[in-house]
Amino acid sequence: MLFEDPVFSSRMLTILTLSFHAIYATIGVGVPLMIMIAQWVGIKKNDEHYLLMARRWARGYVITVAVGVVTGTAIGLQLSLLWPNFMELAGNVIALPLFMEVFAFFFEAIFLGIYMYTWERFKNQRKHLLFLIPVSLGAAFSAFFITIVNSFMNAPQGFDIVNGELINVNPLGAIFNPAMPTKVAHVVATAFMTAAFTLSSIAAFQLLKGSNHVYHKKALFLTMKIGLIFSIATAVIGDFSGKYLAEYQPEKLAAAEWHFETEGNAPLVMFGILDDEQNIKYALKFPYLLSILAHGDPNAEVIGLDQFSNFESPPLYIHYFFDIMVAIGVFMILLALIYWIGVKRGWAFINQKWFRMLIVLGGPLSFIAIEAGWWLTEFGRQPWILRGIMTTGEAATSSGHVGLMLILFAILYLILGIGTIVILRRLFKNNPVERELENRLGGEQS
């Protein structure tokens, strides 16, 4: 199948590249804001710990940026290599945000270079911090523009097709499609959330390993607080996403919820399994919740899969992607909230081993949620690559070599993934916080 069917292997290669790139892209978009906040707090409080935090995070960040840049280049080219028919059409309508993304990325790259090599150049730390602003902006805008392209695939507009001819193209109309606001906001907010929880996971890990240094405690508290804010924001935006789907892509929402019959008072189904007659078993059902998610009204009618042909229905396994994403999101909000209240109220258990282990788990869990979210939206758009206009099968390349390329790229990503872990470990293990603090403070006194 891998070698005979270019459509199947093109899909597999795209999933592979996107899933791998999503990890680095999320770090790339989220972490600059964390560095900025840490450096800002450090300057404000004149606290060497926060300044060192910014430095160390930035040092790890450039490694992930490098891999993010090359995997981003990969997906950028693969769009044309694997989906030439789609890109020919998309090039005519949605090329504008793609083009803007390059500029945002350009901007980010230039200032990241400046920021990384000017730590000691300015007497006034604030000036150095200024260089980080274009880095964060460039990163966030890259995500913003590229997600616009994805939202266009879900809700294409800004053109007409008459007798197979593309006419009345309106590039701005294509950009401001109905899927855009919720999707863009969701991607950016989850990137900040995931970056924050990843850094808190690292801090908690250091504390678990026995370091009792106040540096890690400060890092943990700061990042959990930021994570809490963005996880709540994510949930709110997620609710709006549900309303968008109900209105514009009801088949995706219905498949994700296993909502087969169009009806009011619809319950939200979590997990469970389907038997041969599509009866739901062993599931958690939250009454009225799907109606609320879809329309903000417990009695509202939610369109079910009965309104769609088999051809138009997305695969039902996306239900699990939705469940994983939402379950992790809720878990992270609760974890961060309990931690935050616990710090304020002086609850002892938040410093205990088991709770810190949960925080360590939060980093990888957030990434799983990101991946599940992307799989939900991508598989949930099937059979379309451009909803209602072009199917994934029509878009794919006719080249017979995709299977071989898939194997080559799988090896490449394995090498890059292992490389990143080895390098990051070496970078921080050989230069622990305690020693670096000593060196820096010692240097200042002399």
């Binding site: 040092r59 490694i63 940026v65 490098a66 891999v67 840049v69 090359v70 280049t73 990969a74 950028g76 080219l77 693969q78 044309s80 290599l81 694997l82 989906w83 030439p84 028919n85 890109m87 020919e88 090039g91 005519n92 309508v93 090329a95 504008l96 793609l98 083009f99 803007m100 390059v102 500029f103 990325f105 350009f106 901007f107 790259a109 230039i110 270079g113 400046i114 990384m116 090599y117 000017t118 730590w119 150049r121 274009p134 193209v169 309106n170 590039p171 701005l172 390349t397 006719s398 080249s399 070599h401 390329m405 080559l408 790229f409 490449l412 090498i415 890059l416 490389g419 390098i423 070496r426």
Partner: protein, 339 residues
């Protein structure tokens, strides 16, 4: 000037930018690896790394700009080149990925690691080789239409003297451009040993460069008669380019004004690159695709050009700042202010 011409000119200028900054970058990676493996690390590595470290990502963006821009302005290229370039394109991506990440691994974590330096040095030479194959394909004769789908004839491409001479030219050009630039850069830093070594490399690669460049024009006379004749019509551009080349070599030979030498080199490549581009007009892929039948709609073309102008307004000052801080800052290039 028609929108088509504006579009292709913008893209060609950026591609030229990539040829220059990319060559410096790829060649520098190679010289760095070579110096580490041949025990001359103490002479070269510091200079090369001081230049490379802050700018490598910027180099990559020039390339991304080109391939995103060409699909924007000429969407049909996605169909023709997207389908035919799957294998060479994927190989180029893999090489770029290895190079970019191993560069970061070496620079930010394991300075002087031989394996990493070797990986990114070698992949840097293979990238221009794999990318330049596209130029050979664009000359026609390697792509045929089967069931309305373009299919690349790998065997013909592999056996063609034209494609091999383009590959060899791309590699020699990378090494020559990079050596001339680094001679100048090393001289700026006041490092005599590094200057002398790079000067030697620059002179070494000057001769193969001009031989391979002439070789391509010769091969083209057999491969694509029409293109060859258009090149002859533009003979003055190539003649001028050759004079600039002589100027560069002479200055470097005489150890005079390396800055001007590099300036002449940019002029030499600019003339040759545009002479080639203009003579290629109007074809993007001979004979299937011209800039006219592949062009996007007017609304998109105009909005792309507006965004391009706005983008430049943002980028040029930023690039100026980057260059000012790292290339022309006396303290930085001399290493007094390095991290």
């Amino acid at each position: 000037m028609s929108l088509e011409i504006i579009g292709i000119s913008v893209l060609w200028i950026f591609l030229f930018g990539y040829v220059i900054v990319g060559s410096i970058d790829y060649g520098a990676g190679f010289f760095n690896a070579y110096s580490i493996l041949s025990g001359k690390q103490h002479i070269l590595s510091k200079i090369i790394q001081r230049y490379l470290s802050p700018v490598w990502e910027v180099t990559n963006v020039f390339f991304v700009f080109f391939f995103v821009g060409i699909v924007g302005f000429f969407p049909k290229t996605a169909f023709y080149y997207g389908t035919t370039l799957l294998v060479p394109g994927s190989i180029a991506i893999i090489l770029l990925a290895i190079r970019g990440s191993y560069y970061a691994f070496e620079t930010y974590s394991s300075k002087g690691h031989k394996g990493y330096a070797f990986m990114y040095g070698l992949s840097g030479l293979l990238i221009p080789a794999s990318l330049s194959v596209v130029l050979a394909i664009s000359e026609g004769g390697f792509v045929s239409m089967v069931d309305e789908h373009p299919v690349l004839n790998y065997v013909a491409l592999f056996k063609s003297p034209l494609s091999w001479s383009i590959v060899v030219l791309s590699i020699t050009a990378v090494l020559y451009i990079s050596a001339v630039f680094l001679t100048w850069y090393a001289n700026q830093t006041g490092d005599t040993d590094a200057t002398n070594l790079m000067r030697k490399y620059a002179l070494f690669w000057a001769f193969p460069l001009i031989i391979t460049a002439c070789g391509i024009i010769y091969e083209l006379s057999y491969h694509n008669q029409e293109h060859f004749e258009r090149i002859l019509n533009l003979w003055w551009m190539f003649a001028l380019s050759f004079l600039l080349y002589v100027g560069t070599v002479w200055l470097i030979w005489k150890r005079k004004n390396y800055g001007l030498a590099f300036g002449l080199l940019v002029g030499q490549f600019l003339l040759a690159f545009f002479g080639y581009g203009i003579s290629h007009y109007p074809y993007l892929l001979y004979p299937y695709l011209s800039i006219y039948d592949s062009f996007t709609n007017e609304a998109m073309a105009i909005s792309l050009i507006i965004v391009f102008i706005l983008g430049l307004a943002l980028l040029l000052p930023s690039l100026y700042l980057l260059i000012k801080l790292f290339l022309f800052d006396k303290d930085y290039v001399k290493g007094q202010n390095a991290k």
